[in-house]
Amino acid sequence: MAEAGLAALWLAGALAALQLALAVLGVRSRARVAPVGVAGGEERPLGASGGALAEALLAATRPVAIVQGVMAVVAMAALIGVFLASDMSVRLVVENSHSLKPWLYRFAGAWGNHEGSMLLWVTILGIAGAGVAVLERRLSPRTLAATLGGQAAIALGFYAFLLWASNPFERVVPAPRDGAGLNPLLQDPGLAFHPPTLYAGYVGLSVAFSFAIGALVTGEVGPAFARAMRPWVLGAWVFLTLGITAGSYWAYYELGWGGWWFWDPVENASLMPWLAATALLHSVTVLATRDGLRAWTVMLAVVGFSMSMVGTFIVRSGLLTSVHAFAVDPSRGLFILALLGLYIGGALALFAWRIGAVRAGATFEFVSREGGLVVNNLLLSVILGVVLIGTFYPIVAAAFGVQLSIGPPFFNKAAGPVALALVAAMAAGPLVRWRRDEAAAVIARLTWPIAAAAFAGAGLFALAGPVGVLPFAGLALAAGLAVASVAPLAGRNLLRTPLFTWGMVVSHLGIAVSLAGMACDAAFTAETLTAIRAGEAARVGPWRVRFDGIQPVVGDNWSALQARLTATRGSTAVVLFPQQRYFANPVTTTSESAIATRPDGQLYTVLGQAGEDGRWQLRLWWKPFVTLIWAGGGLIALGGLLSLVGRVRRGRQGVAR
């Protein structure tokens, strides 16, 4: 099975090379016939024979892209097959799996390691490429072929990397009796879905970038290009949002530190593409609706792609140290950096070379929806810049022999105020008209949101007293944004409101909900650290937590000491079972937190070590409304999904007409 997978991988790589060659030849031979810069729709093949050949070359990229996608899927299926069968003659299985593991973790273990995750990436890319080849009907054949060529070029780098530097199907002789197992921290259902979700997001951005390549090569940067690219950007953004939200919740309950975002380099590596995708999502709307911001949108597609490459590779290069960093040998790290430089450098060079051929689009007034979206883009870019600097500064400093680390205080101080300004702009933006609007009229439309923010701020101050500047501003702005985000629905027939308007409303509301959760967590969390004997009790916030005792528990491939805690508040009582888990393969201990979710927050409990005197360490948090953070994330993604469905449906109708 491993050999079949390897063969499929080689075939897919060869097909990617063919796809690239076809696209280059087709676009070039056509270019000789008709000058570059002529819009595709009006272009006529002049030299009959050259034109026919070019047509054939361009048309051939479609089926090649589809077969390449199929081959990549076959290779991935083969890898999953050897993991499920626990084939201990494959090195990757030996190093990352164990025959006694539950099937879900053997299955997900196929991508819970370096080689497998790279294969998963390129598989999703192959599927997306086949999807573009099958579905895209709006672009001219040249732009589409150039797009598929761009995708092939990206995929080729991955195939080369897999085949020469990290072959997932390598055999070991002789085969050992069993594998080394998987890091227990990664033995979680979250692992099965978190990486594929993020990768789907990264790949979506690379598809958006391929469209940008196609449009740059043929000079057709306009509304048609924006409409073709938009579903992919939206899809990528939905996946990234889900991936980040799920990753945040995973870190929250699995690490047992009570935090939901650590500004860990790997978290930042997933946040940066999201920021770029968010900016792109908004600017592509300007391009599709008003034919403005042409060069800027293409630039954002390049930045989004670069950030997703950074997200994919920097994590794997061993440059950053974090919980996700897998051990990587130095030669592979160099390969990764070279590939990264090639991709990003190539993307920027293409942009610099071809952007002159893109003529300026429509102009607009500052006080207009377009102007608001520019403000959104600029603020997102500032946040992206801050996160980028904060993530890479330690690496640069280390190159100069200075060891330092940059933690949450830096990011909160530098990015927090900009993010709040962005939220304020977000409240106003959707209430401004396209093309031109009056500042006074916009302020009048903002009366209710401003009142809501002031009311929430005053109420907060009266009830809770001073809570810190950022949480205070966050809660007040969240209230304002919540009101402002539903304002575009006011006075409309809700049934006839387009789905993508609903999408915007729901996403913006999601931001408000999430922000409220973050601010509540920062302002009102109560924490208790104690060591108590069985029968004793501790207090945290409004809860009284009684420690009933310790009992042993056995799971699939672990054993645990489990505490029984009875938490009471007024007349409600909940029982929680935090654990200290011991794994045999490899030998590791993890603490499993126990969380009780109430409508108004979560009680979070962690069991620590035992003392010699029979006392056990307990760490307890009461986190009011913390669940809003992830509920908001879900709403944001739901909004993206609604918008995507709305756009696709509208696009279908447009084609049918």
Partner: protein, 148 residues
Amino acid sequence: MTAKTQRLVLVGLALLAVVAAALLALSALKDQAAFFYAPSDVRRDGLPLGRAVRLGGMVEAGSVRRAGDGVTVRFVVTDGRATTPVTFAGIVPDLFREKSGVVAEGEFVRDGSFRATNLLAKHDENYMPPPLVKTQAGAMHETKTLDR
């Protein structure tokens, strides 16, 4: 406004955004970057008081003591040349153990000891207990790979 001037204005704004991001980041970096120390760095350079830093090294064998309250831990971090006593109130990470690498986040106290607010021990897919590192250079190299 013509298309060209609008483009110029947008480019100007974009540059302004980049500069703003850099300035913002640099001003925050000045007082928020946590520098990394090994115990012998402190002996050589003096105590960096009043700012968040990271202290890295190995947990000295036999040095871990738990205080009477059951939650405060005292231990000694060594890099083979010098040692620093550390106090930490909380649940130590799962991989924290004697003769193993640790990175403590927190700040130095006037008496030369370190008050940690957070402990990081090595988590890695291919986890092996790191060998006791003798030299400072070795300790620095080792601690580079230690993180949460």
